[in-house]
Amino acid sequence: MSEFLQQTVNGLAWGSIYALIALGYTMVYGVLRLINFAHGDVYMIGAMTGYYAGNLITRGLPAGAAFPVVLACSMAVCGVLGFLIERAAYRPLRNAPRINSLITAIGVSLLLEFGGQLLFGADPKVFPPLIPEQPLFEIGGAVIGRIQAVIFAVALVLMAVLRFIVVKTRLGKAMRAVSFSHVASQLVGVPLDTVVSFTFVLGSMLAGAGGVLVGIANPKVEPLMGIMPGLKAFVAAVLGGIGNIPGALAGGLLMGLSETYVVGYVSSTYRDALAFVLLILILLVRPGGLFGKSVSDKV
């Protein structure tokens, strides 16, 4: 029983990272119908920024302040990066066939990966310990670490903020309008370019936060770290119903949990296949994803 509980905790913590990355996919897909393959690499840049920021800027800061500063740095850098990527690579192709945008996305992704290997070096870097690691409490034999708790909390707060932006603000309304129809939203005066840029910035910031959180929990960052989590986070987004914010959260958590349970109770050798088996199954049974039907929250 304690093992099951522990696995559940592991799965939730890992799943909340998937969820943060999945949110970016979901928003961009909702607005542009584009699988932004570079998103996983933006997450990598977030982690790398966290590494440098953590080592350079926060030297003099007290222990408690370092984490928020680094988090803000990474989110800012990734926001700018997301803006630039959209501006330079995706905008010229907005009206081109879907497959062209997809290949551009892959190109940007490769550029970030190999550029990262050249710029940062291929060897893994050790993420600075921003939050001292210690077990927070124990329930029924399951250890919950302080870091796991922080990850979960930060992820939830960011998602709540995001939901507020999407549901309550004017820009959020514009995003929803754009995701419904490009043409119609432009007809009623929604500035398409601004909204798309904003979506990329927002999604990239979340990925940046994901990068820092991962860095804290698993202090090893390297230029290719974004590939697999990126793909799996996309699967999580599809699982929850792409374009749907609570769906991305649920999809991420579900992915984290199911991967963990498969390792714990079936076989770890097949773990990497699981995400994709789940994906194919869900596409067959419910192509819209678990929450795909609710149009109201579509971004």
Partner: protein, 323 residues
Amino acid sequence: MGILRKPVSVIAAGILACWVVQEFATPWINPYHLQILNTIGIAAVMAVSLNLITGHTGQFSLGHAGFMALGAYASAAFTVHLNPDALGLVPILPDWAWRPLFFVTALAAGGATAALAGLIVGIPTLRLKGDYLAIATLGLGEIIRVIVLNLEFVGGARGFTGIPESSNFFWIFSALLVLTVLMARGVYSLKGLAFLAVREDEVAARSVGINTTRYKVLAFVLGSFWAGVGGGLFAHLNTYLHTNSFGFLKSVEYVVMVVLGGLGSITGSLVAAALLTLLPELLRIASEWRMIFYALLLVVMMILWPRGLMGQRELRWIRRVKP
């Protein structure tokens, strides 16, 4: 116009030409250049077969390397585990007759395995639209890799060694020739126009009585079959297989060839396969920078030249009827 009126004689003449080149020309070619030539041939098989799925029928697959892996492993397992020596049989036919026959069977077995997988996955997933299919096929590629890693009789994580070196210029380019001629004949025949119709407008295609699902599955299965054949050629050229050769990036490379060449242009696929195989070789001097050049090229290419090198044009002899 077009020599495709007589496909059988074209194929026969082409295969004979390949044999002549193999026997009399290849010993004089630098083996490094020959290797590149053969790699181009295999890339072309992969690109042309993917073009049927993505270019002509408009179904976006990111799992072509997965099907290639299936074909490679299946055909290699066939030649390694089912050859007469391993089974303790004595072939009735003389050496020069049964060896090519055996290799063709192995390639066909590889192709059939890939086609079967394509059928199993294709029927359900081809109901999905565009991007979902891309992701589902991407996932399939990964699943295949994970399964192969756990199969001991094909080497698992340590790789598959001891595959006979049966592929050569003759086999690769004969296969490419057969594929190209059949494709051109198929796609540019009246019936074949159905593939293009599915790509252009599915609803309209259905309304004129085309069973769109059937054509989509057909394209997917045929494309997978040839990807499997390409994999078989690859396995017996390199004599060693490891799942790392069939990653996501490999699938992407083939998609890029198809798009760069021009969606739906067989000529384009051939040209792009050659260019994109040569390019990294030429960029060797740039070492660490070459993948960055490649990535930049993709982005710039898509922005400046979105329809690819050939658009939908073909060399004259590939066309039979105008779509």
